[in-house]
Point group: none
Chain length 251, copies 2
DNA sequence: GTTGTTTTGGAATTTTTATTCCATTCCGTC
DNA sequence: GACGGAATGGAATAAAAATTCCAAAACAAC
């Protein structure tokens, strides 16, 4: 795991890997400055890679430099035409679905609801997050972000069919995420929270969702499906924004 | 429109116009050779265009080359300094980061690697998926999709610190997902799979990732971070495409 | 601590590349 | 076909970049 390269060489490796597109158009000095190493370190790095020096490596990149990768739209078309059903074509579809979702989210996001949600959640003690099945990745990421931001949060993940509804305490709040077909367990927890008078923030796909009735504040996400699967891009973007806003409102 | 230029200068103009994308990565001598003029003619051409010389013109093209990397780290810093952004502003940032990531993914995706990954995974018996911390949402979604498509898959989620490495059987394959800072457990499982001769498909952030060495096939995802958090849009798009391709390849 | 080894930074050197300069050629005009 | 001004090519020079090298620093093993 720890193929431990010397410090400077590791810096070179990381910077170069993260900026492959700049190699062709930069000088040793520029790249070295970017990687925050002296030029000689970068030279050493090139040699360890098996090139005679930087120039040889650069020559490779300059030749490979296919006239600036085609712009996004062209490339997408290429991917799609690459035989329907090919992995590349599928990728293009999902990329497009994701982009569309994000675009719609940006257009349709309800700022007032978002602000209200942040207020509720910033005031609460512990945040209870629930999302199952395809909402589970979102719920788990939310919880991860809360943990990183030192916001007390609990993920109700249903492991072992354990039910933790009694963990809901006065002063807490609940974030419930579910999409059609709505998950009973999620709705049940939201209901429980509501009946205890806790704020419930619902993230769902439409205002007519059963979750809407159970929520103090509803955030709807226009996710574009491709085939049977949704991209989650928009849902995740909304969730992270929510989490970060809460995190900074809290401290 | 064209006050008639002297012959050599005309050649320069034509060649340069037709090869704007090569300017950034070529020397005077190379371009001159391409235009079939002596280097000095090209120099004159640059000066007539109003540059002090070739270098100045090239600098322009080199900078223009890398179109958009408006780096998000500085933007977040700015945002933070301007007082915490409103939730809506944050949302806009995450939407933008997601869009950029998807765009980059479409541009840079390695079709060959993707196809290869699908081939390996379509042939395998059980698919072992591992991804922890911020890669966990991806791993869990992958597993969800596999389940829906009736592809035998097992999520190594580390619940209860249980280690299931002996679940890896001959004929199986492993999908490992990790981003810097790389998770030891993920690398350990990948290593284990590799040493048993199972195909390992790595999804990671750069080719220098320690996961790369452990993988039969590496898929790199250019995820644009906003602040400390990544959008996961691109990673999810790639993962779903992978899963669906595998599902349909299996029948 | 001492010793031997690896790593590092920067100054010195070499190579490559850009740029200038000028003698020569070309071309239109008389 | 002689003249003058523009255009040209290549050799000479300047600038910039790459590459090497070595003394100092960091590190590891004893």
């Amino acid at each position: 795991m720890t193929e431990t390269l010397p410090k400077r060489l590791r810096q070179c490796a990381d910077y170069i890997a993260a900026n492959t597109d700049r190699i062709a158009v930069s000088t040793v000095a520029e790249l070295a400055a970017g990687a925050d190493v002296p030029p000689s370190a970068l030279m050493r790095f090139c040699q360890i890679l098996g090139f005679s020096g930087f120039s040889e490596m650069q020559r490779l990149f300059r030749e490979a430099y296919s006239p600036g990768w085609p712009d996004y739209t062209t490339r997408l078309t290429n991917l799609k035409e690459n035989g329907a059903g090919s992995p590349a074509a599928l990728l293009a579809e999902f990329v497009e679905a994701g982009r569309l979702s994000l675009e719609q989210l940006a257009k349709s996001a309800d700022e007032a609801a978002l602000t209200q949600a942040v207020q509720h959640l910033a005031r609460a003690d512990t945040l209870h997050v629930i999302g199952l099945r395809r909402a589970y990745p979102v719920a788990s990421y939310l919880t991860y972000v809360f943990e990183k931001m030192q916001v007390p949060a609990m993920l109700h993940d249903g492991v072992g069919k354990l039910d933790h509804r009694h963990a809901l305490r006065p002063g807490d709040a609940c974030i419930a995420i579910t999409f059609a077909p709505y998950s009973d367990e999620t709705l049940a927890l939201a209901q429980d929270a509501q009946s205890r008078g806790l704020p419930v923030i619902g993230i769902t796909d439409r205002v007519t969702s059963p979750l809407a009735r159970l929520s103090t504040t509803v955030l709807t996400v226009p996710e574009v499906d491709f085939g049977a699967f949704r991209s989650l891009s928009a849902t995740l973007a909304l969730s992270i924004a929510l989490a970060v806003a809460i995190g900074s409102a809290r401290g």
